[in-house]
Symmetry: C2
Subunit: 218 residues, 2 copies
DNA sequence: TAGATTGTTAATCGATTAACAATC
DNA sequence: TAGATTGTTAATCGATTAACAATC
């Protein structure tokens, strides 16, 4: 399984393949060709075959792909067969919402701790996990084999908290704070910048309306 | 201002420019060159100049860019000078968290309504907005000039709700449901698939660990 | 075997980077 | 004016699509 330098473009498409294959499996579909899948997903069959071949030949000429086995293979590639413990730093609305999201557990992500600097939130329970004061964080990470931290705090504190996380052995940060974190290259960061996403939507609404206006003017 | 066919790659970078320029402005910086900005943002100066020139010549040879004016221009391009009313469909944890997020208002996005099919949630208040039953949705959209719907419901109901939204004049959907919506091309959709994002993170943790293992073996 | 469909190479397309003339 | 830095064209790089031989 040669996995040298696979582009993030390809990686970014894997979860979507995984999702469609999971649905096909649930519907009891046994095999699928790149052609059929491409029609469902509205991408080219060529791209599907290219993408999958980065990870090995999962298909069979003249037959296509076995849904169940391809689903499992992609799950493995994504590391969903492994278990990861995560903590949530920041017990505000978003942090609590993510803590309550049970589907992450199904994929091997176990919610083990939650932290906040606000004393009013400390002691609160989210799905059986008690919010602890920030001072407890370092020790907790080390003692509980935590490898992912979900960062749901305001941007002002984010950079400093990230440093503390990294110093104590966190491997990855799922960053909802609205800043770009500056961490060593061996730390994985995945940004979810909600307001960036909303701005893109705003741009596209705008652009569409302008196009319509221009059309009606000409 | 020629805005014909600007790629989503470029659009996707605009919010980040906007963010950095806003910070520079808050720090009282008056002018900046593409070179300086490129070092801050860790992109090439060439890319910055290319990107900005899609929308017009905002800079000045020998001087650079005026921070304040560039900030405002990008804001306009993103449509942040306009006001949009949005509703949240699905008053679960995530929906309520987004409703409580006040920063959207600063960008011209006004939280006006919230809907849920669960009678236990109806009547609940989120930042002054009362959760209403789903039956009220159609009328509310029409009567309140709503153009964006935030979809925070489980994937099973999403497609049908999207149809109802579109039929009643919604222009854009910010989709947090874990499905790809099938809407007419004049409806803007921006997907936030949180579990996809988490899977990417998982892949990258995994890949890094495997690389380390391979190194130690050779 | 014949038909179907993959795996993979080659061609195309688009996005990023480099270079430099234009100009403030 | 001389120096700096943009706007823009050209070169490069990478990603997507097309094509087809390999093979089940």
């Amino acid at each position: 399984m040669e996995e040298k330098g696979i582009s993030q473009a390809v990686i970014g498409r894997l979860p979507r393949y995984f999702r469609y294959l999971g649905e096909l499996r649930d519907r009891g579909v046994e095999r699928i060709s790149s052609q059929e899948l491409s029609e469902m997903m509205k991408v080219t069959a060529s791209q599907i075959r290219q993408d999958l071949n980065h990870f090995g030949g999962f298909g069979q000429q003249g037959y296509g792909y076995n849904v169940e086995s391809l689903y499992r293979e992609i799950g493995k590639i994504l590391g969903l067969d492994k278990t990861h413990h995560f903590i949530i730093v920041g017990a505000g609305n978003l942090g609590r919402a993510l803590g309550n999201y049970i589907n992450f557990e199904r994929r091997g992500f176990i919610f083990t701790g939650m932290f906040d600097q606000n004393p009013d939130l400390v002691g609160m329970e989210v799905r059986g996990v008690k919010v602890q004061p920030m001072e407890n964080m370092e020790r907790f990470i080390r003692e509980n084999d935590v490898d992912i931290a979900v960062l749901t705090i305001p941007k002002t504190g984010a950079e400093k908290v990230a440093e503390r996380l990294v110093r104590n052995g966190i491997k990855a940060i799922w960053n909802f704070a609205h800043v770009d974190l500056n961490v060593p290259p061996d730390i994985q960061v995945e940004n979810v910048h909600l307001s960036d996403s909303l701005m893109k939507l705003s741009y596209n609404i705008n652009r569409y309306q302008q196009e319509q206006k221009e059309k009606s003017e000409n």
